[in-house]
Symmetry: C2
Subunit: 317 residues, 2 copies
């Protein structure tokens, strides 16, 4: 690998040890019926069972625990309407430090409640990126807290990489591994661990067609931020981060896009066959696999199910 900034295998293994007391070692599930449908053997790494219900607990814990003690005491801050907010609040609470979370007034009640439950101090702002960033700057200035971004940060990527590390330690025979891609924290981390642990494994990103900036950026060789993303996979609306993009360009085989309809079908299949609760973003890799069966025929394929935080009153089936 050319980029000397990339977290090394040693660093990722250290991160895995560091966060171990604060996260779950999540199970890997299988379904004979899905294997039959897909024409290959599919292994699902279930981060929906992770603390705070999503892989985000890994990166947030790692970033908080790596802060120097002197600056750690002032707390951490971020702007987020999603799983990163809850993950950071929980990681801060476990470290005994305050967390300051900027949330748009439009954030779902369930996400706001989760942040409160973990003791996060919420500042609300208008639901625009500009207002979020401005409010965050004010909060950071007032409190002296450290800004922990949701994905474009090496400690976050290193933390998310521990998921594929665990996965490949349990199922070393995987020939392909897929993760959904939004900001690219999970996909970049997955690509790093996979490339270190196997010289032949292929890494794929899976993205909704309605938020396909990673696909377009990957093909163009430069970041093309998304405008007006629209997809049921609400965890994947963000555009690729800079660090994330550099890892993905170097280590990812391809990015596959799928329509929302296929995402809903795959999501229902996961509920019916694996009997687990996942959020729509989770179902994107399985949808991509089923839409590209011939690429994976007879293989052992690993899919990372990213999270399970879904509004149960609004399931799309």
């Amino acid at each position: 690998m050319g980029n000397s900034n990339f977290p090394t295998l040693t660093k990722i293994k250290e991160a895995s040890q560091r966060i171990r007391p604060f996260i779950h070692k999540t199970p890997v599930l299988k379904s004979t019926a899905i294997d039959k449908l897909a024409g290959c053997r599919v292994f699902f790494k279930c981060e929906n069972f992770q603390k705070v219900g999503a892989f985000k607990a890994r990166g947030a814990s790692n970033a908080v625990l790596k802060l120097q003690d002197s600056i750690k005491q002032k707390g951490v801050a971020t702007h987020s309407s999603g799983n990163h907010a809850a993950a950071l609040a929980k990681a801060a609470s476990q470290a005994g430090i305050p967390s300051f979370i900027v949330m748009p007034t439009s954030a779902p009640t369930v996400k706001i409640d989760a942040v409160k439950e973990y003791g996060g101090e919420i500042t609300f702002c208008e639901p625009t990126l500009e207002a979020r960033e401005r409010t965050l700057m004010q909060v950071v200035e007032e409190t002296g807290a450290s800004f922990i971004p949701p994905y474009d940060h090496w400690d976050i990527i290193e933390g998310q990489a521990t998921c594929a590390l665990e996965f490949l330690e349990e199922i070393p025979s995987l020939e392909s591994i897929m993760a959904p891609v939004g900001g690219g924290g999970l996909l970049a981390g997955t690509a790093l661990s996979a490339s270190y642990l196997s010289s032949t494994i292929k890494v794929y990103g899976a993205e909704p067609l309605g938020a396909d900036d990673a696909f377009k950026s990957f093909k163009a060789g430069k970041r093309i931020p998304m405008t007006n993303p629209k997809t049921i996979a609400d965890g994947l609306l963000t555009s690729l981060g800079e660090r994330n993009f550099s890892v993905i360009m170097e280590l990812v085989e391809d990015i596959l896009t799928v329509e929302d309809k296929a995402i809903v079908t795959a999501m229902r299949l996961i509920y019916e066959r694996l009997k687990i609760v996942v959020e729509p973003s989770c179902a994107v890799p399985l949808a991509a696999l089923l839409a590209n069966k011939e690429m994976f025929l007879g293989q052992e394929v690993g899919i990372i199910l990213s999270g399970g935080n879904v509004d149960l009153t609004k399931l799309p089936f």
Copy 2:
């Protein structure tokens, strides 16, 4: 134990070995949030991950495998609109013998499809118990197949008992164990294994108020069959079997009833906190626990989640 017909611990352990190649050893899950709510430590044995999506795979496999070779070849038969039908069809298919399933015309398409998927030969009949029994008798006469009832049968009870056996081998410290009760196959099996493996554990049945024949029978000391049961817990509409009742009277501490509203609340809690898909019947023990917290304060409580076959388009939330 007074009744010499009851399956012994040795028999249950033999059953566990016998069915091992055909069933999953299901995982035990926990949730810190549910513990906090309940005021005790709750362990969930997840039979929703079982083959055919329910504990019924245990009893059906055991009953089929115990048939003498000479009569086994003629196949097995039952009448059922639920999980037992699919479980028996699958067990028969694995044993390489035919299965004949009598189903009411009113059975849900998803259950009919499951039986077909496992190669069961379906005979439809009017949706009355009388028609079901008459049609079954005709099928048995024509085919010479052995009738395997859904719960009132020692081999079925012995098979269902393997669930609590596994559970207590994994978590021997359980102080109470709860199972839902419909026909009583799971509860009787649970009571047997629990009484053999612990001299102090208390066994509870949990039942919907709208189908509370087990509660009434238990209090009266004689079987009082249910007329017009009405509850969202569609797996628990049947009345207690005779053998099941004899075990329950001797080994169960109490039967707790709950209203449908509490069942739906508990069901949602399982989806939100454990991130797993369960059917309404599954949620009855947790509902009973939450309605009787003071009885279990500070204890280690085991709950058997019986199955995950639910119509996802009709979730009650």
